[in-house]
Symmetry: C2
Subunit: 237 residues, 2 copies
């Protein structure tokens, strides 16, 4: 039995709360693998083997070694997989059906696999300044990237529909190439030579920055929240 | 900093998952204070000072000493309050406004207070048999009770709106009289001589029964979920 730890919520990003509220040191205390974003929505984060990488909106990727760098939203877990992926080829459109026997619908799970990607389509959110906009507004004008024939690792989570708001329901996955030069939030992909695992969680630990005054003051447009999250996080496939 | 631990979700009860999946022993490992319900929706649970009480739909209250009794849905925490309630009189209609300075909107909190209740209005769900119905159907025909001039303890939680589904957003509180003869899920109350506390949580730990086959198979009517929860849990005030 294992735990998925999440600092912040996706709803907070929709509610313009992009101030960093958890440090790299804090997130690494709760996992060695995961995904997130940085203060001011400064790119996409991917955590692999305890190392934190940041995909920037100019297309570059940097490794984050400063333990004090802050994040508003991040999900991490310790990589202790329970299942081996039962396929060698997959794309975003077939991922769920190829995992049907694991009955993910109502639970939290992590996926992590290495593969040869014939195509990866990513977005990388761009750094915002105060006063922060909503994630939905940011995502309407986001840098997107395409890369063909690239080897790399895809990592991320499946979350049940009822947790859309706290997090993104369905799949939310990021990519990092082996050469550490291409990364981002995955909108679409197609991969062969897939070698990876699935990890099922019985605990979802939602951590909230209760000492942050802006977060405590936040008012959310709940009517548009669910559809807004799907619009801002959704894959294009 | 402290944690609120929840086994199961309110959505599961809406999805007819009333089989018990956590034992009294398991819940007491995660808290000494809380609220819940029992296998088959057999009454309302209230946990105080590490003791578990069960309000039955015939109006009786029993103490549950068998550590193997099962629950499908329960929320618990260790009572380590952070704030003293700043009022001596309160009713359900004024509770939120009297706590406004604590800015509970976006966070999880526990409330626990003793008082003299001029009136308490409760419901106690009745035990269901397989095949289980939805909580919404059960709540449409639920035993309700009224008691005037009763001393007792109110305990329960505030949850942010975005967690409606995993749990009940807003206030979800249960009552137990000092003489342990009157208890239930609170629909309305009015109290004086209030003496109690508030506890703010930074972690909400959502535990799911991932080894339970019926839960894994569950399909939810998501369209009606949010309104259904409010209809089935909502206070009458």
């Amino acid at each position: 039995m294992s735990s998925l730890y999440q600092h912040g919520t996706l709803a907070m990003l929709m509610g313009k709360q992009m101030q960093g509220t958890a440090s790299v040191a804090e997130l690494l205390a709760h996992g060695d693998t995961g995904i997130g974003t940085f203060e001011g929505l400064d790119g996409e984060g991917i955590i692999l083997d305890g190392k934190v990488y940041q995909a920037l909106s100019n297309g570059q990727v940097v490794q984050v070694t400063d333990q004090d760098v802050l994040l508003p939203f991040v999900s991490v877990h310790f990589h202790e997989p329970t299942e081996v992926l039962p396929f060698s080829e997959v794309d975003f459109g077939t991922l769920s059906s190829k995992l049907e026997k694991f009955q993910l619908d109502n639970i939290f799970a992590a996926i992590k696999f290495h593969g040869k990607f014939s195509h990866v389509h990513t977005r990388v959110v761009a750094k915002q300044t105060i006063p922060f906009p909503s994630l939905l507004d940011v995502s309407k004008n986001q840098p997107e990237f395409h890369r063909d024939d690239v080897a790399g690792t895809l990592v991320g989570y499946y979350a049940p529909e009822i947790f859309n708001g706290p997090t993104a329901a369905g799949w939310h996955v990021h990519f990092l190439s082996d050469d550490k030069k291409f990364a981002g939030h995955v909108l679409d992909f197609s991969a062969t030579e897939v070698d990876g695992t699935l990890q099922l969680f019985d605990d979802f630990i939602q951590h909230l920055p209760i000492d942050n005054a802006e977060f405590r003051d936040m008012s959310l447009d709940l009517d548009g929240l669910s559809s807004g999250i799907k619009a801002s996080e959704g894959r294009k496939a």
